[in-house]
């Protein structure tokens, strides 16, 4: 077993926004007793309690994205494990179960968005953002992942599926062995590169369906999903367990870096303590990988459904250089996986010319962080592009 299960912490913080979209409504109030898997938040997505215990607070608390988000704080009781009913399967039901289990892809999107005819499913098994949680899941639970994938294929009526795995990964062999009986599931090896791909580029590259600007892969009959979602679908179908646990890679300056299975809502400090604690003085804690991730100002933020990894850096890992003016070298243009022009977007967003940002398709940016990584002037390009996106959204709202 590669994945180590971390024991439940005595207090969890479950944010009511663990996806792209509006904050869910809280269904519990202070003093309520909740049990494992109980629905505590409903809205665009469903959010369940990951522990049994007593709700001690419902308030705005720090969130990995940086904002303060309405969260439910639950003090764990000992013992008392609620019964989770297993359900009978039928294709009509699976769709509902996937929604009710509150499954969220690592990019914050739902697995199933439309009811269109789906032809192909692409499962991204690359070690997204430099972290190894996908590989660990495939090594530990290959049959569960294939089960989840088959269930999803049956539900949407997909004829074929691809599992994308990096060349040289141990999981490649395991998954190939596992999928031998299924002629319609193909395991594809791809060279190791960053970023491994966005929904649209993966659909184009592996399913051979070009996704035009402004539409999603679903419109072309392709679902792009991830290994973590497949495992979550298995858990929901076979064990009736909603998405209340998450495999997270803990890396960097910690005692024993590894992949761990964590209850949603466990504070990062607890996860790190269970992984041997900090080695050296932590300077930066980055959630979701070194390049695209967000540095946290507190280690009390919880693990949420979209968390894939926690990276701890010490002073010697960090290079701080003051930004210099843009020299129009266009390295960022070469590196952009979407084909945008980050240096122009930076300039326009910085000078608040949001109409020009919109004209250069700022909304297509996936914030992978490559432009800021290669920038010789060390400009905070992603941060300014994010500001530009916000400005464009405000501009469109006021029109």
């Amino acid at each position: 077993m590669k994945i180590v299960t971390i024991k439940t912490f005595d207090q969890v913080i479950i944010p009511l926004q663990q996806h792209d979209g509006a904050v869910c409504d809280s269904l519990v109030s202070v003093g309520d007793i909740v049990s494992v898997g109980q629905l505590i938040g409903d809205g665009e997505f469903r959010i369940h309690s990951s522990v049994s215990g007593e709700v001690t607070a419902v308030s705005e608390l720090p969130h990995p994205t940086g904002k303060d988000v309405l969260s439910v704080v639950i003090k764990t009781h000992d013992g008392e494990k609620s019964e989770i009913e297993s359900v009978e399967l039928s294709t009509g039901k699976i769709r509902r179960i996937i929604r009710e289990a509150g499954i969220v892809e690592p990019n914050g999107q739902p697995t199933l968005r439309t009811k269109e005819d789906i032809d192909t499913i692409v499962v991204n098994g690359t070690n997204t953002w430099d972290l190894s949680s996908h590989e660990a899941l495939m090594l530990d639970h290959p049959s569960k992942i294939v089960y989840g994938l088959k269930a999803l294929m049956e539900t949407v009526g997909a004829k074929k599926a691809f599992i994308i795995i990096e060349l040289g990964s141990e999981a490649l062999h395991v998954m190939r062995t596992e999928t031998i009986p299924d002629s319609n599931i193909k395991v594809i090896a791809t060279p190791r590169y960053y970023p491994p791909g966005t929904e649209n580029t993966l659909a184009k590259k592996f399913a051979r369906k070009k996704v035009p600007r402004g539409s999603t892969p679903e419109d072309r009959g392709v679902i792009v999903s991830s290994i973590a979602a497949m495992k979550a679908i298995y858990d929901a179908l076979r064990d009736g367990e909603p998405m209340i646990k998450k495999v997270v890679t803990v890396a960097g300056a910690v005692g024993s870096p590894r992949d761990v299975l964590v209850d949603i809502g466990a504070p990062i400090s607890h996860v790190i303590k269970e992984c041997g604690g900090y080695s050296g003085t932590p300077v930066k804690i980055i959630v979701n990988g070194a390049i695209p991730g967000a540095a946290q100002y507190s280690d009390e933020v919880p693990v949420i459904k979209t968390t894939t990894g926690i990276l701890v850096q010490t002073e010697c890992d960090i290079e701080r250089e003051p930004p210099a003016p843009c020299i129009n070298c266009a390295w960022c243009v070469d590196e952009c996986p979407i084909g945008l022009m980050p240096h122009l977007l930076y300039g326009y967003a910085d000078s608040a010319q949001f109409d020009k940002c919109a004209g250069l398709y700022i909304g297509d940016c996936v914030e992978c962080g490559m432009c800021a990584y290669v920038c010789p002037s060390k400009l905070p390009i992603v941060q300014i592009i994010r500001y530009g996106k916000h400005g464009v959204a405000e501009m469109e709202a006021s029109e």
């Binding site: 994205t65 940086g66 904002k67 303060d68 100002y297 507190s298 701080r320 910085d350 905070p380 941060q383 300014i384 994010r386 500001y387 916000h390």
Partner: protein
Amino acid sequence: MTVDLMSLLPPAIAVLGALGLAMAGMLVWASKAFYVETDPLVDALMELMPGANCGACGYPGCADFAEHVVAGDVTPDACTSCDTETFEMIGELLGMDISAAESMYPVTICQGGTNCKDRYDYIGADTCRAAILLSGTKKACSYGCIGLGDCVRACMFDAIEIADNGLPRIKKYNCKGCGACVTACPQQVLTIAKEHGPVYVVYASHDKGKYVKEICEFGCIGCGICKKKCPEGAIKLVKAVAVIDQEKCNQCGTCIEVCPRNAIVKL
């Protein structure tokens, strides 16, 4: 064949001279024919205007403002950048009493800066607006000045700077009172005020009183003592922060004396 250059000089002078005279004649005619009548009063007023073209009055520039003042559409005290002497002179010129008019300046209503603790080390873009999107603010107080200088960049007259205490400082000799910094500030810690007007400002943080006490020396904790003591009843509590009704206030200064947090000051 040789050409005597000297012999060519007189005809050249004659031709160019005649051309010049003809052109000069055309210019003289054009200046008479297309002469635009201007009001001498507008010209005289323009002489007195500061010429900053800041746009605070709501007109594109000082010239347009002067025209509208003379036409009677607007009173001269709409200008924020004239000082008291200039207003007197304009009053004399136009024959109206505008002695009450004063120049306006932005005032910082946050005393945080370096007095306020940072929540984290911020490394990133040097704009307040982008920093707010990242995670609220880098300061412990989410209502205070961030000090990354959006106001400095918005100022057209180099009249504002971030001082050593991490707060904006207004250089009065450059300031035109146009209010560009007030609009640019995402935290609304700048407000525009009359130069000599007694303004009472509350250092307002809507956080809980206990938390405000921890992080800030000055912030209002919403204790309500000023509300009880105000003889005019001009103070009310909005979202646990004292707000002064400037119309009812008679500037007696009682609230300044009773405030346990020194959150109310006379500027």
